[in-house]
């Protein structure tokens, strides 16, 4: 029973919210709020989530590595720890098979949600300073397995999650329930009505194998809209469920169709992934480039290479297949072109593309251009392009 994927889950979720109410009003003296969140998440994980033991083993492994490297050995260099934490994900995503008798290692360690749990593991590992006190193991487990976000995010940060846990039962209130229900309704509308209508009555009419221009265009725009409503719907539901349980799940989408450039796009589309990549890959990479003497004189090159590699990594993270890698490279290319454009506009102190065009037209054209560029890159990602 995957989150938000079937009627069973919604029945379970209703039960969970009622139970949380029970904890708040009847058992708050004996069961503190962080324990209630952990208990409810564990009930879902152990009884309804596929491969719960795998999740618990990964959580144990991650806690061990994080505690040993950060708190015990106080290792400054974060790369070895990250590689160790990423071993399960790399093994599963890689095409190299470890066919150890009597089973393939890749299959044994794989489970749904591994990518997003790995994101959260790395996020905390990177945030901790060497020598920091070990994090509370129960909070750590709660953070990794919190039911609304366990499968596909949004990717919360530990300090934010932990702060919410500290907020206690006062966060489980009528206002939260109302707000959560509103988000849940929007999520249901996006995912189970709008995305479904696009899927059945738009995408179904245009074969992905057809090489006719009209079919390809309809597949491109249709899939972009479908992906947004499906994923944003899921994210709204996760936010709604989180809020009803007293936890603030971060916003993942904010009108991405109004983005004016690639940078703006990633502040609006899958926001938590964009932030994660910026904080834990782009910034450290760019900082390391800045320290290199040979690259000191080339600030634009440094930025562009770091940008391209960041988006390439994003593509590879979706899977090591041509369409994902190409889609990531395309977003990297868009970002490089836009970054160079901004750089040269600043140097020449004028807009090199739009010239003296009034601001409202610049905004309109920028939105149209970015909408089409994003739709194209996501079309490549979708695997519905007949040329790939």
């Amino acid at each position: 029973m995957l989150p938000f994927a079937s009627i069973d889950f919604f029945v379970f979720l209703t039960g969970t919210i009622i139970l949380m109410g029970g904890f708040r009003f009847l058992l708050r003296r004996w069961i503190p709020f962080p324990a209630a969140i952990l208990i409810l998440s564990l009930i879902y994980l152990l009884f309804f989530y596929p491969k719960p033991v795998h999740v618990l083993i990964l959580a144990g492994w991650a806690y061990l590595i994080t505690t040993l490297f950060i708190s015990v050995f106080r290792i400054r260099n974060k790369v070895p720890g990250i590689l160790l934490l990423l071993i399960p994900l790399l093994l599963v995503k890689s095409t190299i098979r470890f066919d150890t008798y009597p089973f393939a290692l890749n299959d044994v360690i794989s489970f749904a949600g591994l990518s997003y749990i790995s994101f959260r593991i790395i996020s905390l590992y990177m945030d901790l300073e060497p020598g920091a006190r070990p994090v509370n193991a129960f909070r750590y487990l709660s953070y990794l397995i919190f039911t609304p976000t366990i499968l596909i995010g949004p990717i919360d940060r530990y300090h934010h999650f932990s702060k919410d846990l500290d907020g206690g039962y006062s966060q489980v209130n009528a206002a939260g329930l109302k707000q959560g229900l509103d988000w849940m309704v929007y999520g249901l509308l996006y995912k189970f009505v709008i995305a479904e209508v696009i899927s059945r009555y738009w995408l179904d009419r245009f074969s992905p194998e057809s090489r006719a221009w009209l079919d390809m265009l309809m597949n491109m725009y249709g899939y972009y809209l479908y992906l947004f409503f499906d994923f944003a719907g899921y994210s709204y539901m996760a936010m709604g469920a989180g809020k009803m349980l007293g936890m603030a799940v971060p916003v993942n989408f904010h009108f991405p169709f109004l983005a004016r450039n690639p940078q703006d796009f990633w502040r609006r589309f899958h926001i938590t992934l964009g932030d994660w990549l910026k904080d834990y890959f782009f910034t450290p990479l760019y900082t390391s480039f800045t320290r290199q003497k040979r690259l000191k004189a080339y600030p634009l090159l440094r930025q562009n290479v770091a940008l391209f590699l960041t988006f390439l990594l994003m593509g590879c993270w979706n899977g090591f297949s041509g369409n994902f890698i190409l889609s990531g490279a395309l977003f990297g290319l868009y970002s490089m072109v836009h970054n160079s454009y901004v750089y040269y506009c600043r140097r020449r102190q004028r807009d090199l593309f739009f010239g003296n065009l009034p601001e409202r037209y610049v905004k309109l054209f920028s939105i149209i251009i970015m909408f089409n560029l994003a739709a194209f890159a996501i079309y490549i990602f979708s695997g519905r392009c007949p040329w790939l």
């Binding site: 489970f111 990518s115 499906d230």
Partner: protein, 48 residues
């Protein structure tokens, strides 16, 4: 007062679309499955 009424009307509209949509799309009689793309959840699940 007007703002409040607008909000109520918007919510009513959202619920109306949602309930009508769910009833029309998800009744057992109306189920097509041809070139449908994998949902985000299926996409993540199928990889593992």
């Amino acid at each position: 007062m007007n703002k409040h009424a607008g909000l109520v009307l918007r919510n009513l509209l959202v619920y109306l679309i949602l309930i009508t949509g769910l009833l029309l799309l998800w009744s057992p009689l109306n189920n097509t499955d041809q070139n449908q793309p994998a949902s985000t959840i299926q996409f993540v699940y199928q990889q593992f």
